[in-house]
């Protein structure tokens, strides 16, 4: 009996060994037996995960884990649309887009990629993901061999850009009925297992169409907050993570790490509400535009990790024009404007009044982006020009701003979503815009935005964007402060990294060329 058991154990061990050896010898060209652990997304406010592209906003996405890919991608530097699973596109008329699907690509289950598969995936996504569905405004999709034809109801000028979105993935819809636990895609890695929190174990897809991925395995950790990412980088649990700026000194000039910087085109700005108490007065808003010392804010609040700005777009973007922008910091000017408009400190308490009423502003912010800290700094800067203020930290910022009971609100926005300006300009400056919290309304701006919506010519779009900016800067309802930098930290010796542009962008899976020296 005992002998039998021994034999069984031996046999098992022998099998195990041969399996291990087998794995080792099967190593494909270009692939290495190395593993990496990455942090994906950085939010700790969501638990759980879903790979279903119909479920928006969860940080663990098929694209960021390298399971699935999109038809087009954006160039990291130029933000131009580049072919990926598609080889090209053509707009045959205002409402029709003809897309050629790449030959020779297979899903990780061996099924060949053709237009019919793309049609099935996109139809599912546009029908079930309301945000993308609204953006794409699809009337019908047709598939013929490798030719995919999209017909839209209205003119959708940026269709190829929409198809770079993180949720516009091409996956095998027939592989299962439930996509929440994972999808079958064409990406460089295959989902092997995922736990309840969304931590994934990914194995190399040896048949990947762009070549063999380097690392045999990738582990991703989801939903870590900034502090946890920093600690895990230091303890060696993570090889790659994005970190908060206050922790940069721990990694800069540290021989064990490399810090990568990129500018995602994210602007931090203020809404100055003309519909509420004291900011109704244009003079107050004008004074506010020159009351804040951006350099001090950048250094003090954000540790100098960004660039100060007086305009919406970062200077590398085609929508930026150096001749446009707001006035900079000028304390004396701010005081003078207020004095000229009849504001003065009549009761000598250090704060100004008008007609006997003390000026009191409400600064509304939310807890992300160090905005409570920024608000405290703004409050102290307002005190410099004699304005009293208090701070409200909102749990439901959008609801609260829509109520309109605030004077100043801090906000952050990606100005180059999908590499384009329309997704910022339209919601913020159109009369019916969804992030238009100041009631900004200019018929000319509305007309230009409507025109931009149906214009696919890039140069023309840039021209419109610049004209819109002129109007915006005149109105003193928005105050642009900073473009903030993003920082990724990798362990020294890891190569093959491309910075990730934006957070909601469907870039090529960034880990697939990761290598260790």
């Amino acid at each position: 009996m005992k002998r039998k058991k021994m034999l069984a154990v031996l046999l098992c061990m022998a099998m195990l060994c041969s399996a291990l050896v087998g794995c080792g010898s099967k190593k494909e060209e270009g692939g290495k037996d190395i593993e990496f652990t990455m942090s994906v997304g950085n939010s700790n406010t969501t638990s759980g995960f879903s790979f279903d592209p119909a479920v928006d906003y969860l940080s663990q996405k098929s694209v960021t884990t390298g399971i699935a890919e999109t038809l087009f991608v954006l160039n990291d530097d130029t933000k131009a649309v580049e072919p990926h699973l598609a080889t090209g596109y053509e707009q045959t008329d205002d409402l029709t887009w003809v897309i050629t699907i790449r030959d020779g690509v297979t899903f990780s289950n061996g099924k060949a990629l053709d237009a019919a598969a793309c049609k099935s995936a996109l139809e599912y996504i546009f029908a079930n993901n309301t945000r993308l569905g609204t953006m794409a405004d699809i009337a019908s999709i047709e598939a013929d061999g490798q030719i995919l034809t999209l017909k839209t109801n209205g003119i959708v000028a940026i269709m190829p850009r929409i198809l770079t979105e993180v949720n516009a993935i091409i996956f095998d819809t027939e592989a299962s009925d439930d996509y929440s636990g994972g999808v079958i895609g064409t990406g460089p890695y295959i989902l092997k297992s995922v736990d309840g929190d969304g931590n994934c174990e990914l194995v190399r897809n040896d048949n990947y169409w762009q070549g063999t991925p380097v690392a045999a395995k990738i582990h991703t950790k989801a939903n870590l907050d900034a502090a946890a990412q920093t600690l895990a980088l230091q303890s060696g649990e993570l090889d790659w993570a994005g970190i908060q700026t206050s922790d940069l000194p721990l990694f800069e000039n540290n021989p064990d790490y490399e810090v990568l910087t990129y500018n995602p085109g994210r602007v931090y700005y203020l809404y100055l509400n003309p519909g509420y108490t004291f900011t109704e007065d244009p003079a107050v808003r004008e004074a506010l535009t020159c009351a804040f010392d951006r350099d001090a804010i950048l250094q003090g609040v954000y540790g100098g990790r960004g660039t100060v700005t007086t305009s919406i777009f970062p200077d590398f973007s085609e929508f930026y024009d150096s001749s446009l922008g707001q006035v900079g910091y000028n304390l004396e000017q701010a005081k003078k404007i207020l004095a000229d408009a009849g504001y003065e400190d009549t009761d000598n308490d250090g704060f100004i009044e008008k007609d006997g009423e003390k000026v009191h502003l409400n600064i509304t912010c939310y807890s992300g982006n160090s905005f409570p800290v920024l608000s405290e700094v703004l409050q102290s800067m307002l005190k410099e020009i004699g304005i009293e203020s208090d701070i409200v930290v909102s749990d439901a910022i959008v609801d609260d701003l829509n109520k309109g009971e605030y004077n100043i609100a801090t906000y952050a926005y990606n100005t180059l979503t999908l590499g384009d300006c329309y997704n910022y300009l339209n919601p913020v400056f159109h009369t019916d815009g969804t992030s238009n919290f100041t009631g900004f309304s200019d018929p000319e701006v509305d007309a230009m935005l409507d025109e931009m919506k149906v214009t696919s010519d890039t140069a023309k779009r840039a021209e419109l964007a610049k004209k819109i900016q002129e109007k915006v800067y005149e109105a003193d309802q928005h105050l642009f402060l900073l473009h903030i930098q993003r920082y990724n930290v990798v362990r020294k010796g890891i190569t093959g990294i491309t910075p990730m542009f934006g957070s909601d962008n469907a870039n090529n899976f960034i880990f697939w060329k990761f290598d260790k020296q």
Binding site: T46, D197, A222
Partner: protein, 327 residues
């Protein structure tokens, strides 16, 4: 006694209903519309149309009573609803996190007992001795640390400096040790104090004095007399703390990134994920009530006086000991 147990189990239903209603009511009154919060995660405000559609889809336009009633009807059909955030079934989400919470609760409780029973006994036997005083001071120290501060310190020293344990518990085999250790350190002081007090009281009791007088060895007295009679009150402490542990460890779970229900619950409150929060509260309350019932029954079998009292009071007046540590 059987009738007593049956009665307590029956009471479970109205209590659970009341709890689920309180949970729903609190969420319903919280500012912020779940649809708007969900749709504005990208940073930009959703269109009124999108919000209206989602509200319709989630049934948020109905009155509070209709919504609660619908949830209740579904509950009786065994359906806890769907999480607003992940779109997965609430039962599925909870099932993914529940085993981890149970594991953490058990491990932390066992570690705490292993630490606090011997220390409590030694301190009681050598009351006001040097060791007793040292333990008292250490107790006060750990009992006075804010939980997340203790967790951060442990993560920094054990995780980053010594690299003994992972800093991120989620997705790691050894991950459970960091939160378990933190919980043990912050919970043990209360246990040690209570065990010490209970044993001192027993040692003062007459029958032990008599045993001493009869010349029975102190160790024998301790094991056969005092320790045995301390067991019931130990049950009570454990029962109370298990209930507390199941939902009250959220902050430590967040700091340690542990995949537990507490973190899930806090996130569901932040996100106004009504169905998820409801499911969580229902489960936790059910466990809490059941654990305490079990404790009372054990208690009653160990001590006839308690049995008599329990039956007399009919379910009221169980936990005399106060709830320690609100957070």
């Amino acid at each position: 006694m059987k009738r007593y147990i049956a009665k307590r189990l029956l009471w479970l239903i109205p209590v659970m209903l009341m709890i689920s209603f309180i949970a729903f009511f609190l969420m319903y009154l919280s500012p912020g519309d779940p649809a708007t919060i969900y749709l504005s995660q990208g940073g930009d405000a959703p269109s009124a149309e999108a919000v209206a559609n989602l509200r319709q889809e989630l049934g948020l336009n109905d009155s509070m009573w209709v919504q609660y009633g619908r949830w209740l009807v579904n509950l009786f059909h065994g359906d806890l609803g769907t999480s607003i955030y992940t779109g997965n079934a609430v039962a599925h989400e909870i099932a993914a996190y529940f085993p981890n919470t149970i594991r953490l609760t058990l491990l932390a409780t066992v570690m705490t007992l292993l630490l606090s029973i011997p220390l409590g006994i030694i301190c009681a036997v050598r009351e006001n001795g040097i060791l007793d005083n040292i333990v008292r001071v250490i107790n006060f120290f750990f009992g006075s640390l804010p939980g997340f501060f203790a967790a951060l310190m442990l993560i920094y020293f054990l995780g980053v400096k010594l690299r003994w344990l992972p800093t991120v518990s989620s997705g790691s085999a050894k991950g459970i040790w960091m939160p378990a250790l933190t919980l043990t350190l912050t919970m043990a002081p209360a246990y040690i104090r209570q065990i010490r007090a209970a044993i001192i009281q027993e040692l003062e009791e007459n029958y032990i004095r008599m045993a001493k007088a009869r010349g029975i060895r102190e160790r024998m007295i301790l094991y056969h007399g005092a320790l045995k009679s301390v067991l019931p009150s130990l049950f009570t402490i454990i029962g109370m703390n298990v209930g507390h542990l199941l939902g009250g460890t959220a902050i430590i779970e967040i700091v340690c990134t542990y995949q537990g229900l507490g973190r899930l619950a806090v996130n569901s409150i932040t996100n106004r994920d009504y169905p998820l929060m409801q499911g969580f509260v229902l489960l936790m309350a059910g466990i809490y009530v059941l654990v305490n019932l079990a404790v009372d029954i054990l208690h009653a079998y160990a001590d006839p006086r308690v049995k008599k009292r329990l039956i007399a009071e009919n379910g009221g007046g169980r936990r005399y000991a106060k709830k320690k540590r609100i957070l």
